[in-house]
Structure formats: C-alpha cells, structure tokens
C-alpha cells in the first residue's frame, strides 16, 4: 500500500470476504500511519479494527485535538508524540509566552490512557508538577519519556523519574531548557535505581554530569546503548568507556577545558568501546581529531557540528570513514570536504551541512564554503541519500538538476542560500527546481530558502505541479507576486504543512492559497505584504480552523519582531491560553 500517492483511496469492496482473523493479523503488520488512515476509511468495521490496534500516534499540533477525542478514537494507544510550538521557535522567532503547555495533556493522559507507556513531547512547556502527575500514574509502566526541546522543569523532576520509573528504557532531554543544572544527583539516582535504561540523552542541555556518576551508570546499566551528555572533559570519561561495553552511540564530552593542565590533554590511544558507531564530540579541534582515526572504519554516524576543524581537517577525517551513513557538519566542511564525502562515503543516507559562524572572521576556515560544486559531487557520489539539508553560498540550476538526476532516494531535501555573497552565479533557479522535483519522486519534505528573484512565479508554478507527494514545504524569499502562490496552490495535492517566510504575497493570496490547497492543515507565515488593516486575512477564516495573528513585539525594533500568521486545522476549538500578543481571528457576525 505504500505505493503511489493516489493508491490510498481504498474502496469498500476491499472489505468483502476478508475474515476478521485475517484482517487482525494483517493489521498487525501495517505500521505506516498513512496506510492505516487509508484502511480506516474503507468501512466502519475496518475503522474499528484500526482504532483498537493502533499503538502509536503523532499529533503534529497539540492544539488541534483534545486528549478526550484522541482517546475515543484510539483507546489502546501505547505511544504518543505531541508537538506544540511552531518550528520557528527553534530559530527564536516565536514569543516566549506563545503557549504550548503540556499540563492539560499530561493530566488527561495520566488519568485515562491506560496503556500509554511511551510519551514524546516536542517544543512544549512541561512543569515539575506535570512530571509529578505523570509519574504518579505511570511510574510502573513508563518505558520511554522524551522531553524534546521542552522547558519549564528542573533536575528535581529527573530525580523523581530516576527514583520511581524502574522500567524507563529511554530518557531523552536533548536541547531542553532545564533548571537547576548543577545538581546531578538525579544521575546518581538513575544509575542506582534503574538497570534497564538503554538510551539516556541530555545532549545540549548544559546539565552537569560528574564523571563518577557516569561511570556508575556505565557499570550498573548494562543495556546502555545510547549516551548523549553535555560537556564533560574527555580524559575524565576513560572509565565510562571502559565500563559501558555495548555503547553504540555517544555524544557530548569536551576537549576544551581551560581549567585542566596540559598533561591531561594527551589523547593518544584514547579508548572507545568497539561497539561505538555513532559519535558527536564537543570542541574537538585539529589536535584531538586523530583520536578518531583508529575508529574511522567502524563509524556509521559522525556529527562534526560542534567540532572546530578546518576544511582540510574534514577531508582528512572523512577519508577514514568509508562506512558513514550519517554525516553532520557546519559549512566549514566546504566543497572540498564534500568532494571527499562523495568519493568516500558511498553508503551515506543522511547529510546535514549547517550554517557556520560566518560573521566572526578568523574563527572559521575562510575556504569553508559550500556551493554547486560540492552539491554536484555529493549528488553523483552518494546515491543512497535520503535526507539532505544544506546551507550554501552559491547554487546553480545545473546542481539542482544533478540532484534530480542522481539522488533518487531523497525523501527530504532542504536548501538554504546564505546571504554571505552579494551575487549568485545564476538566477532564477526555476528550471533547476523543476528538474529536482521531477527527478526526486520520493520527496515528501522540501525546503527552499533563497533570496528575492531566485525563484520566480514560474518556479512556484513548477513547485505546485511537481510536488505530488510533498507533505511539508518551507519557502523563503520565493516568488514575485500573488500569481506565483496561487499557481503553486493549484498543485501540491498532499501538502499538509506549509511555512512561508519573507515572501511577497498579499494577505488575500495567502488566504486563497490556504483555501485552495486541499490537504493543507497547517500554515505559518512571517513576512508578507500586509494589507493596511489586516482584514484580508479574514478571508482565511472558516470553521475548524484556528487562525492566530502574532503581533510584532512593540519594544523590539529588530526584524525578528515581524508579524506572523499561524493557521491550523483543529477539532479542539479555539485555544484559551493565547497571550495578549496573539489575536485569534474568528468568523464575524
């Protein structure tokens, strides 16, 4: 059923003659939520069978449904993922008081979702009280808790979880903002009370972790496979790596500790467990890089976003890692680095090139720039790429065409054109985008953030026409006029989530596009051609749509304070926790 997009419309005739036992058995093997959606629409009975056997649901917007309703639809849920704040929050574009509290959800989940044992909250506010409520109800069965880019809780909640949730296998806190960071008693509690933990992730949280407790964790928790910590001086982690024998994935550590003397900086023969395949080391510089050389051939994932290497260092290191499936770096990797990747990493599936520290001359390698040269090399050299996010300083149609020609496995492609260089080689990129979309037929997510003029209205028309399977799209500085957006909105039959930034579209065109895109259920816009009085947005108003106008901050003249519009399909009615800076648009009298 995972075939062409249009195949999912199953007829009722499907249901005739299939015994319940067979149906139940088959359903057990259907995990793709889209397939399940299609199945549930065949007939009432199939819907019921799906409802009772659905184990996991992702709610992309926590305000779009009530917990009650979700429970009625899927009474046997075991695992739930919820997201609240818009993605823009990760870029500091959303006001702090926007909302996104998990309280209501956690209270209802704890009270009524009897089978729930895995909870993933992303970009939400979770208080210590919320964790307390959850623990009281679920301590005996909670197997996985992910507080992913969340805020509002402290290390005392972690201690509570560690003390009471004996079955917790996954505790994920990456990039969350956690209070009382210096207190690492929770880690000791976890190491002494929990023997089943497999994944512990507090990467990018700045939580303190004493090496002794980490070693204790390695010794007591024999199933520990994934450990991602904050900064911790690498020489202090030697014991941990000696004890955690089956560790597969490690992130954190630190090669940079001014308080330590020079002798302790000897990394010759540094030991990593043989099972370790995935690594992200903080502050790794040219001098420390050789620590990885003996392990290069075993590495499947290497994250260099938080390392400080030159372009040449990247080349040297990547050359030794022929089995990489995932590579993450900053754009200091350069075209030269990407060429080495293309030659070496034939198994690469995921590649991310983040934006470096471009406004601080001297810190980053001047030669670290990624352009069409690097992209073309990777497209030709890494045929198995599925995910590719890249920040470039230049781009051409030919490079985009090459991606369309060679990168047949891509399902997620994101390109951001940086504003470092005043001019780019070629503009517009309409034909390149057209070829890319036509060639990459598996694409489900697509981001194209360029500069004014680089994608014309004609290009937007192509995007509409050839985005048959794309569900998520981000466009930045794209198009010339309303015509482009309207053209785009006649296509994109599967587009559910659209983000627009800095595009010159009028409110009326935005509203018409929102009405015209038939699968759309989420729209976020910042930077558009505002009408003098904003009333054109009202054309977007319709039942079951929540439309929120986020006013720019009065006291902040910075450009980030631009007005935003967030519109999403909701069965939960208007939310009641909007701060004063947000105006909800309603149908008028």
């Amino acid at each position: 059923m995972g075939g062409e997009a249009g195949d999912r419309r199953l007829g009722r005739v499907m249901s005739f003659g299939i015994p319940d036992v067979a149906l139940g058995l088959v359903m057990g093997f259907v995990e793709d939520p889209w397939d399940r959606d299609a199945i549930s629409l065949v007939c009432r009975h199939w819907c019921r069978v799906d409802a009772l056997s659905r184990k996991h649901v992702t709610v992309g917007m926590a305000y779009s449904i009530t917990p009650d309703r979700l429970l009625r639809r899927f009474p046997c849920l075991e695992s739930l993922k919820l997201k609240a704040k818009p993605r823009a929050a990760m870029f500091n574009l959303i006001p702090d008081d926007w909302g996104g509290s998990a309280s209501l959800w956690i209270r209802q989940l704890s009270a009524s979702f009897d089978f729930l044992k895995a909870l993933h909250l992303r970009r939400m506010i979770v208080s210590d009280d919320d964790v307390d409520v959850l623990v009281r109800a679920k301590a005996h069965m909670l197997a996985s808790l992910k507080l992913d880019r969340c805020s509002g809780f402290s290390t005392s909640s972690l201690a509570l979880l560690a003390r009471t949730c004996k079955k917790l296998e996954t505790l994920f806190l990456e990039d969350s903002s956690i209070a009382d960071k210096e207190n690492d008693e929770w880690l000791r509690e976890l190491a002494t009370n929990n023997s089943v933990i497999e994944t512990l992730n507090f990467f990018l949280t700045d939580l303190r972790a004493s090496p002794a407790y980490l070693t204790l964790l390695g010794r007591n928790c024999r199933r520990l496979k994934v450990l991602k910590i904050s900064e911790c001086f690498m020489p202090d982690l030697v014991d941990l790596f000696r004890t955690a024998e089956i560790l597969q994935d490690f992130a954190g550590g630190s090669f940079d500790d001014p308080g330590q003397d020079a002798e302790s900086r000897n990394y010759e023969n540094y030991y990593f467990p043989p099972s370790l395949h995935r690594l992200s080391l903080l502050y790794m510089g040219t001098n420390e890089m050789p620590v990885l050389f003996p392990y290069g051939a075993t590495l499947k994932k290497l994250d260099l976003q938080f390392a400080f290497l030159s372009t040449e260092d990247h080349c040297q290191l990547v050359q030794r890692c022929p089995n990489l499936e995932t590579l993450e770096a900053r754009d200091v990797i350069g075209d030269r680095g990407l060429q080495v990747v293309a030659q070496t990493c034939k198994k690469l599936q995921r590649l991310r090139v983040e934006r470096g520290d471009d406004d601080q001359g001297g810190l980053e390698d001047e030669h670290g720039m990624v352009t069409q040269v690097g992209l073309m090399a990777v497209a030709q050299g890494c045929p198995h790429l599925e995910y590719w996010a890249v920040h470039v300083t230049d781009i051409t149609n030919a490079a985009l065409e090459a991606i369309g020609t060679f990168s047949k496995s891509l399902n997620d492609f994101r390109l951001v054109l940086l504003d470092r260089e005043a001019n780019i080689t070629e503009s517009p990129l309409d034909n390149g985008v057209c070829s890319l979309l036509r060639g990459c037929t598996k694409l489900q997510r697509f981001a194209f953030y360029v500069r004014p003029g680089a994608l014309s209205d004609v290009g937007l028309g192509y995007v509409g026409e050839f985005s048959k399977k794309i569900r998520y799209m981000l466009l930045g500085n794209a198009g010339e006029s309303d015509q482009g957006l309207l053209q785009l909105s006649t296509g994109c039959p599967m587009l559910q989530k659209l983000e627009l930034r800095g595009c010159f579209f009028s409110e009326r065109a935005l509203a018409m596009a929102a009405l015209q895109l038939k699968s759309l259920r989420y729209l976020w816009v910042q930077g558009y051609k505002a009408s003098p009085n904003g009333t054109d947005l009202m054309a977007m108003v319709r039942p079951f749509w929540n439309i929120e106008f986020i006013a720019p901050k009065q006291d902040e003249p910075c450009p980030h304070g631009q007005a935003q519009v967030l519109a999403y399909y909701s069965l939960a009615g208007m939310r009641s926790d909007c701060p004063p800076s947000i105006t909800r648009l309603h149908p008028s009298i």
Binding site: S531, N533, P543, H586
Partner: protein
C-alpha cells in the same frame, strides 16, 4: 469516527444511527431557530481615519462557538455534548477585535449590543470612505518587505557563542593560567587563528 461512536452511545439501545442523527438535527434546528443560517463570511468595513491616509476598521465580535451560523452537523461538534459545555464556559467574555490602521486591538468583555452599535457606526461611514479606499490601497502596496535576515538555529548558535566567549576570556587573562597550560592555550589559539595555514600552500 469518534463522532459515530458518540452518537451510537447517545442513541442507546436499539435506536438506529439515522434516528439519532435526526434527533440531533431537530435539536439543532430548535436551538438555532429564526432563520439565522447566515454564511460565515467575514465582514470588513472601512472608515475614514484621522491621521492616516487610509484606515480601515473591521469590527469582529468574537462569537461563542455555539452561536456559529454554519450548519456544523458533522462531524465533530454537533455530537459532542461535553465539548459544547466547555464552549459555553469560555464564551462568558466575548472579545472585540479591531483592525485599524494596520494595528490590532482586542477588547475583553465587549457587550454584543455595543458591538452592534459600533458596526452600524462603521457601516454608516462606509460610503464616504469608499472613494478613498482605492487610492489608499494602491499607496499602501509598496513592493518591499522589511529586511528579514536568515534565522539561525538557536542550539548551534548558543554553542558557537559560548566558545567565542571562552576564547575571549582566555585571551583577556593569559597570566591566570599556569605556564604550561598557557603555552598550550596560546599554541592552540595560534593554530585556530591561522587555521589551515600549513595546507593553504599545499592546496
């Protein structure tokens, strides 16, 4: 689908879904008697402003959901009794939202009759303002968006900033470090500042 279950439950023993739905429809019609099925079309009116060349104002009275004019018989709200109770609670303080001169104002607890008066007032001035609209709308459409720099990912940015601060800190207090450490630091710094110097020549 959940709605179906709800209806079935509400219907009790033996009564068919159709009968239940009819009952709900009848109840709905009763509650919304008086031929008030108006389409939910946004109303916008324009009034002449004092200072602005053109100002528009749309008075939008926030309605309680149960007073919606659309016939939302299916699927979500008609059948959920609990939901409508909740909605009643939230409708105690209707808000008035005004778009005026490009800004938005929200007034809490705005009585409906006052809103009606306001709408009449605004509608009265509609004709006189209409002429100004065209000219003003054209003037307001300057084809330029304010500069909007590419946003940076906070997590990575925070990390880079932290490292930068450390470099600055170690540079400001070189004598605070022990001699060996200082040597190490400075050699490291020199390396970073002249990053790649050895291979520049080669490459």
């Amino acid at each position: 689908m959940a709605g179906d279950e709800q209806q079935a439950a509400a219907g009790g023993n033996g009564s068919s879904r159709f009968a239940v739905t009819c009952g709900l429809l009848r109840q709905y019609m009763k509650e919304h008697a008086g031929g008030r099925f108006l389409p939910a079309v946004p109303m916008s009116v324009v009034v002449p402003g004092a200072d602005d060349v053109v100002v528009g104002a749309a008075a939008v009275v926030e309605e309680a959901p149960e007073e919606r004019k659309t016939m939302e018989l299916f699927p979500q709200e008609a059948g959920t009794l609990k939901g409508s109770q909740e909605r009643k609670e939230t409708s105690k303080s209707p808000q008035l939202t005004i778009f005026y001169g490009g800004s938005v104002a929200v007034f809490d607890d705005f009585p409906a009759d006052k809103a009606d008066e306001l709408m009449k007032l605004v509608a009265g001035s509609f004709d006189s303002a209409a002429a100004e609209v065209d000219a003003g709308a054209a003037a307001a459409c300057h084809p330029s968006l304010p500069d909007m720099p590419i946003a940076r990912k906070v997590s990575l940015q925070r990390f880079l900033q932290k490292r930068k601060n450390r470099l600055v800190a170690t540079e400001s207090f070189p004598s605070a470090s022990p001699p060996e450490s200082e040597k190490e630091e400075s050699s490291k710094r020199a390396k970073k500042e002249g990053d790649g110097a050895p291979w520049l020549g080669a490459g």
